[in-house]
């Protein structure tokens, strides 16, 4: 049984979650990482992806996040996301729209660096579509 620690998820509009959790899988821009209690201090940017939150007692929650960063410390994890939606509330149409937008971004990108970035975003969005089976 992992020790619980404080997890906060903040979007620009409000504080979405502030509670004790056992572990969270964070979709970092350089790869996913799992944060448990007593994690080494890390500051990482996010790619669009799913947060896998495990609450004490083993209950799970999935939250879709986009653009932001995570700050992990020994006794807390704070995630600031430009957008955060509970995976259960995520609807197929909205996600399809996101994918379409991302595709347009790829097509519109002016230079290679921008195109790579947009492509990365598109890939992670597609991955979410697959994982959620939408």
């Amino acid at each position: 049984m992992a020790d619980p620690y404080t997890f906060e998820l903040v979007s620009p509009e409000r504080l979405l979650i502030s509670e004790d959790v056992e572990s969270v899988v964070v979709p970092g821009s350089e790869g996913d990482f799992q944060v448990m209690a007593n994690h080494a201090p890390v500051l990482a940017t996010l790619r669009p992806g799913l947060l896998d939150v495990v609450l004490p007692g083993g209950k799970e929650r999935r939250i879709f996040v986009r653009d932001g960063f995570a700050e992990a410390g020994p006794d807390s994890l704070t995630i600031l996301a430009r957008q955060a939606i509970d995976a259960a509330d995520l609807d197929k149409k909205a996600l399809a729209q996101e994918v379409k937008d991302a595709q347009e971004d790829v097509a519109d990108a002016k230079d290679d660096a921008a195109r790579d970035k947009a492509q990365e975003k598109l890939d992670s969005l597609k991955l979410i579509q697959e994982t959620l089976g939408l």
Partner: protein
């Protein structure tokens, strides 16, 4: 001397006006509460953003190869003033105060020989400034259809700014809005967005946690910073818009409160005048009757 009928009409019309201002005051009070809640709810995000930026800022103080969003373009010839105002009037000095501060700043910059460009957010500031600074207004963002300012709105403005900045349209960007202090006082404020002023990591920050843990950055500090700076601009604008929304409702509430009170005073005065002239007329009629009877 207005006739009795005129007075009656005036009393009726002032009463109708009072009803309207009273209703507007109550609506503003309800909206103010909502706007305040929204501003409150947005605070944690901005605070944490500040904290992280302050920590990152410590690494980047030599300005070597840092993002132009942070250190500027190296010149300060062209200034962009982003002026956030309300979409509607009838809110006391709210729009006027913001416009006055912006105008002062624009005049100052112009007299220093700088180029000034103005981007208006909200209709009212544009209406006020169009007369004397109309040629400087480059664009206008309409928020009329927006009931509650959402982050998306701020984000749109931010990406517009970034586009202009990348195109080399301006060097320094300042946001004008009204800071909400209380229902009675709203202070017009200017806030420099580009180059960004990183929040100071004051002594209190260090004292609270003793020796700070060394953070690992993923990707490295520079990259995180380049990613965060645009987000920070959006956050600042969002904060400004929310404060502005709360200030607007506060100002409207106070303005409508005094309008209601004024209307009340006016009704009292008119009623007094009405009663006096009514009695004067009755007296006059009586005198006529009495003197008519005496003449017989």
């Amino acid at each position: 001397m207005p006739s009795l009928k005129d007075l009656r009409n005036r009393i009726a019309s002032v009463t109708a006006t009072q009803k309207i201002t009273k209703a507007m005051q109550m609506v503003a009070a309800a909206k103010l509460r909502r706007a305040q809640e929204a501003a409150e709810a947005a605070r944690p995000y901005a605070e944490r953003m500040d904290k992280v930026l302050a920590r990152l800022g410590r690494w980047i103080d030599d300005g070597q190869g840092a993002s132009p969003l942070l250190v500027g373009t190296g010149s300060d010839k062209t200034h962009l003033l982003v002026i956030a105002s309300a979409e509607r009037g009838l809110c006391g000095g709210f729009n006027g105060n913001i416009a006055r501060l912006a105008r002062q700043q624009a005049r100052k910059l112009l007299s220093e020989g700088k180029t000034v460009k103005i981007l208006c957010v909200g209709r009212k500031a544009r209406d006020v400034l169009r007369r004397d600074l109309g040629s400087h207004i480059i664009d206008h963002i309409d928020l009329r259809g927006v009931r509650q300012v959402a982050f998306v709105n701020a984000d749109e403005i931010a990406s517009r700014l970034l586009e202009l900045f990348e195109a080399g349209e301006f060097d320094v960007c300042t946001l004008f809005f009204s800071r909400f202090q209380s229902v009675l006082t709203q202070e017009p404020t200017m806030l420099q967005l580009i180059p960004a002023r990183l929040p100071e990591s004051g002594g209190g920050d260090n004292a609270e946690s003793g020796p700070r843990a060394v953070y690992e950055y993923e990707p490295d500090e520079d990259e995180i910073l380049t990613e965060l700076l645009p987000l920070n601009i959006a956050t600042q604008i969002f904060r400004g818009l929310l404060e502005n929304a709360a200030s607007e409702q506060g100002a409207r509430m106070t303005a409508m409160d005094s309008a209601t009170r004024n209307a009340g005073d006016m009704i009292d005065k008119l009623t007094l005048l009405y009663n006096r002239s009514r009695q004067a007329q009755i007296t006059k009629e009586l005198i006529e009757i009495v003197s008519g009877a005496e003449a017989l």
